[in-house]
């Protein structure tokens, strides 16, 4: 009887956070699904040699390290829920920019490490890397990567400030990370997805965080396509900025500065 009561109380704790229940369920079924898609696709992907696939993953690791901002947990948990935001709000300097500069410092450090890693890879396996040769393409790829960084930053800011409304943020953060892992191309090149799914996913903002920057550096896109990627990046950047502004305006009124 005593154990049953304790079990029921544990249930209560779990039920309290509704979003988490859903996300853990989703997490469980998603990995096997992806594996099926991957192995079905991997056997016959026109236009992808095994070298290109290898260098795709190596580049994805590096680009992910440099571009993918990770501030949402800090913003959501430490700042908004535990009240750390208060000391920023009291300062005559924008919170957004302070976090941006902080994240920029992180990404630059990661970038240095990433580039060192790249140099080591290329040194050891010179033949393995498929890399864009034309300076035009390289230049545009760098621009695409920078805008991708801005995009992930704003996107993660939006996810972070959802904590103004959510009392339990873990669910939302996990869900976002799952979406990013799958739809940004981190798990596999989006070209490996069934073409109807690829069509949809390549219009979503996630694809512009990792996938397109990576294949741009790989030299798999024409100059025209590169411009199209840039256009889409700016489109999503604009949308995300608008959403962020609106959410911040409303959210800051909800802020309770607890724990302070």
């Amino acid at each position: 009887m005593r154990n049953l009561k304790i079990i029921l109380l544990q249930f209560q704790e779990v039920i309290e956070d509704r979003s988490r229940i859903f996300v853990w369920f989703l997490l469980g079924i998603i990995t096997p699904l992806i594996m099926i898609l991957f192995w079905r696709g991997a056997s016959h992907i026109p236009g992808w040699t095994s070298n290109e696939i290898t260098s795709y993953y190596l580049l994805a690791i590096i680009i992910n390290a440099i571009i993918m901002c990770q501030q949402e947990e800090h913003v959501g948990t430490i700042d908004i829920q535990e009240g750390g935001l208060s000391s920023y709000l009291l300062k005559p300097f924008s919170y957004f920019w302070l976090i941006f500069f902080n994240e920029l410092a992180y990404r630059l450090l990661q970038g240095i490490l990433g580039i060192l890693l790249l140099v080591v890879f290329v040194g050891f396996f010179p033949g393995l890397f498929a890399f864009a040769k034309s300076p035009d393409v390289l230049f545009l790829s760098v621009i695409i990567a920078i805008v991708a960084f801005l995009l992930t930053f704003i996107f993660k800011m939006i996810i972070g400030i959802l904590a103004f409304w959510l009392t339990e943020t873990r669910g939302a953060f996990e869900a976002t990370n799952v979406m990013i892992v799958i739809f940004s191309g981190l798990l596999m090149p989006l070209a490996f997805l069934p073409s109807w799914l690829e069509q949809i996913v390549s219009k979503m903002p996630f694809a512009y965080m990792i996938y397109f920057p990576v294949i741009a550096f790989e030299g798999k896109l024409t100059v025209l396509e590169l411009w199209q990627v840039l256009f889409m990046e700016f489109f999503w950047l604009g949308i995300c900025l608008l959403i962020y502004k609106k959410l911040w305006q409303e959210g800051i009124k909800q802020y309770t500065a607890v724990g302070q």
């Binding site: 109380l9 249930f11 209560q12 309290e16 208060s86 000391s87 009291l90 005559p92 302070q260």
Partner: protein
Amino acid sequence: MVISVSHLSKYYKVHQKEPGFVGSLKSLVSRRYFDSKAVDDVSFTINEGELIGFIGPNGAGKTTTLKCLSGLLYPTSGKVDVLGYTPFARKNVFLKQISLVMGQKNQLWWDLPASDSFLLNKEIYEISDKDYNQTLDELTTLLDVKSVLDIQVRKLSLGQRMKCELIAALLHRPRVLFLDEPTIGLDVVMQQKLRDFVKEYNKRYNATILLTSHYMKDVEQLCERVIIIDHGKVLYDGALSDIVKKYAKYKTISVVFEKEIERSKFEKLGKVIGVEGTKVLLSVPREASSKVAAKLLDTFTVEDLNIEEPNIEDIIHDVFSHHKR
């Protein structure tokens, strides 16, 4: 007038859950919320250079009020004006003139020495080199922390850290300072040092200071005027000395007789609150206290006699418990 608050209210939305497993299942489907009134129709004004004590029990609404005044919280209703600005707009010109120091939390970088956090604030508040050096020198001397500025903050003691927090909050010389429990967790010596410092800062810069504290000593030593708040409402706003007059209707006379005396002989002079051998404690109306004392001295042979004001802490405790009823 530096601060003006009129009919300020701040409600928090709180999710209510019935206890037990069935309650949990219910909350999975639909959740009930109610408003918790942290601050409920509060009004007051504060003039430049005043040092005011804001007192009340836990959850009375003190901190919430300070947070509304410093622009952290969006008021549910009412009007707040600090230095001519609406705090919640958090304009830079406004933020550069205020500071809020909260006892438990910190703005200092944990892994770097305090001096690095000070430098960050110097840039954020756009303080000139000259002002920065002068203020930093004054503050570190006043607080006696010159030697610890280059030590990693996590290695500092609570007292040292609190002092560094204060310096970080005061580098831009705020005209209005909100102190929330500045002495919490500090030892008696450190509390006294901090009090002296707050008084000195108030005098030196003619700064307006609003301070909350659980320690009546903080308030007694620093503040001429107090605002007492409970359940989100202002119970008293006025001179600290007037609280005694207003709420303490009685004084205590403690008298030691030469030899034990029959109770009936002094019983009619006042309410007997204690008899201990030759020592007797009488509670008498304030205005009658000197008359009663004279009578005691006239009638009996007295070894010692004291007229005591009741403890201010007790009076305030009385005020709160009256309010509850």
